[in-house]
């Protein structure tokens, strides 16, 4: 049987721009949900999705992807990966699944908004596949960790985390809700598919896959790199939108949405991806440093595409490049110190050999972050474990909801970026986070950070125990040092060797 080539029938089949007769165009596509900046339907007629696929092709290809990922999992189920993996690597898995699996459902709802309210037929068509992609991502990323739940309760957080007020989860949800759940169709196309998916998801789903492969966790490596093949397709929804907005005099609006998303994604990834790549992944399995992955994916590949499509570099780019060197070290230190408040066991990652690697990848590390770890190491060597643990909550940013921290050194360099809005005082970690708030205060102003909730009396009793209860963390779930301080013994042995 002769079949027409896809391109001979594709445009006719997907062109569903019918003329409504029972309702007005405005009622069919309300601005709040289309987010088209008042541009008429005609402006979107030239939308041409670059990565075309059809439903029969989609079904066939997705079936093959799933068959691949599930068969790798089945083949390796008896490989004792769990029993043989380093505790640091298991923490990578716990953090990944807990922070991401359920967020994929939010991404699916965002794709749904584009399916219904996207102004271009091509956009609606590609988003239909995107919507199904994200359901796949949630389900597969809940299924894979489920095999470990009976071995370790922290894996239960793959599902549980999203329903808790654990602080890292508040941060992740705040970002995902902002980009995915509360934006109109064009907003989702710009902020989720273009800024987040052509850029940052490559870090977590491909960069981390490289580390996973080095660590011998082929099941996880195959899973996340397979997920990214879906992202690579539906992320292309945003590109044509950028061009349409720029062409129709809406460059400033487009730029703002993209800048907000990039800054917010960066903050989340500085705590999600940075620590796992540079501290949790066993030293011998680190393919590249976090900074090197950022340079490969975000600077070399993504930053260029902004300029290619007619946008500018975000105004904060210099701050951003500086933060790539520094920010995640502080986030890591904070997570490790407040370890009882997270659902994974942070690996300190500061044995003598690891510190040498950090100094090599981030010259100056020993003179800055290294000094903080010196104090922790001394306390641990002397058995003063209470001093390695927190008594209070961290001060968190009113935008990214992450601990406010800055590179330590001989001088006090701590900075706060405050703002008083409608009688309420806000504190931000950076110019970028304060700027995001200022763009649309009504969107963010009523949100309470963990510290706000504490001061509001929602956390009872008002101490660490009350905070853990508030966050839903029970004994057996609360984090502890991944290696149970075995790395401190390496330091001790090193010193004895040097002294003798």
């Amino acid at each position: 049987m002769t079949v027409l080539n896809r391109l001979d029938w594709y445009n006719i089949a997907r062109d569903t721009n019918w003329t409504p007769t029972y309702v007005s165009d405005k009622d069919l596509f309300p601005e709040e949900l289309t987010c088209a900046f008042g541009l008429p339907a005609e402006a979107f007629e030239e939308y041409d999705e670059p990565y075309k696929t059809t439903y029969p092709e989609y079904v066939k290809v997705q079936r093959e992807k799933d068959a691949g990922a599930y068969s790798v999992k089945a083949a390796l189920e008896r490989s004792k990966m769990y029993e043989n993996a380093s505790p640091g690597w298991l923490s990578v898995l716990k953090l990944h699944f807990g922070a991401i699996a359920r967020g994929e459902y939010s991404a699916s709802s965002a794709e749904c908004r584009m399916v219904r309210f996207g102004r271009a037929p091509g956009m609606r068509n590609m988003a239909t596949f995107g919507m199904m992609d994200e359901i796949r991502h949630s389900q597969i990323q809940l299924f894979f960790p489920h095999q470990y739940v009976s071995k370790d309760r922290q894996f239960d957080w793959a599902f549980k985390s999203y329903d808790t007020n654990e602080w890292a989860m508040i941060a992740a949800r705040h970002f995902f809700d902002d980009m995915m759940v509360t934006r109109g169709a064009v907003g989702v196309g710009m902020m989720l598919t273009f800024a987040f998916e052509t850029g940052f998801t490559n870090m977590q789903f491909l960069g981390l896959a490289a580390d996973a492969a080095e660590a011998g966790d082929w099941s996880f490596s195959s899973l996340i790199s397979s997920i990214q093949t879906d992202e690579s397709r539906h992320a292309q929804i945003g590109g044509p939108l950028v061009q349409i907005l720029v062409k129709n005099g809406k460059k400033a609006e487009a730029q703002k949405m993209v800048d907000i998303s990039i800054w917010r994604a960066w903050k989340l990834f500085s705590i999600l991806t940075g620590p796992v790549m540079d501290y949790y992944t066993p030293l011998e399995h680190r393919k590249q440093s976090f900074k090197e992955f950022m340079q490969e994916w975000i600077v070399g590949q993504f930053e260029r595409s902004l300029l290619e499509l007619g946008l500018d570099k975000p105004w904060f780019w210099d701050d951003f490049l500086r933060e790539i060197d520094e920010q995640h070290h502080g986030m890591h230190l904070g997570v490790w110190f407040w370890r009882p408040t997270v659902w994974w066991d942070p690996a300190a990652g500061v044995s003598p050999a690891e510190r040498q690697w950090l100094e090599e990848k981030y010259p100056g590390w020993n003179d800055t972050w290294g000094h903080c770890w010196d104090v922790i190491t001394e306390n641990a060597l002397e058995g003063n474990m209470a001093k390695t643990l927190p008594e209070t909550l961290p001060v968190v940013c009113n935008m990214c909801q992450l601990p406010i921290n800055y590179t330590p050194g001989p001088k006090w360099t701590m900075r706060d970026f405050p703002l008083t809005h409608a009688g309420r005082d806000y504190h931000f970690c950076s110019e970028g986070c304060r700027w995001v708030f200022e763009q649309e205060p009504s969107r963010y102003k009523d949100h309470q950070s963990l510290v706000d909730r504490f001061l509001d009396g929602q956390i009872q009793p008002p101490d660490l125990g009350g905070a853990l209860k508030f966050m839903g963390l029970s004994p057996g779930e609360m984090g502890d040092d991944a290696l149970k301080f075995a790395w401190v013994e390496e330091v001790r042995a090193d010193r004895i060797k040097k002294a003798s």
């Binding site: 290809v61 691949g68 490289a210 340079q295 600077v299 070399g300 007619g310 490049l321």
Partner: protein
């Protein structure tokens, strides 16, 4: 990547697919060289993925991939392994093209 300094790393016109490791990635490397004879194809092996790139434009033909793979191949099946790509994409049934183009 063509530049190693972070402030200038975006000044490049590298294009091409990033494929999950496996038989198809190997075939695509060979096809990239056969279908783009005037260009230098750079292959970066990151164990989990392989970054295949060149300057400006890269074309991959279905028939060439089929020949390198030694078995029937449909262009759409590239997506099973195509985790990412640099540049823009133009996917047809007989070829796929990655290219650099500045719109404005």
């Amino acid at each position: 990547m063509s530049s190693h300094h972070i402030s200038t790393a975006h000044l490049n016109n590298r294009v091409g697919p990033v494929l999950r490791q496996g038989a198809l990635a190997k075939a695509v490397v060979e096809a990239a060289e056969a279908d783009n004879p005037d260009r230098v194809i750079v292959v970066e092996d990151k164990v989990a993925y392989v970054r295949i790139s060149t300057d400006g434009e890269m074309i991959l033909r279905r028939t060439t991939i089929e020949e390198m793979l030694g078995q029937p191949f449909q262009m759409r099946d590239l997506e099973v392994e195509l985790s990412s790509f640099a540049g823009r994409i133009d996917n047809a049934e007989e070829y796929i093209r990655f290219y650099f183009e500045k719109t404005f």
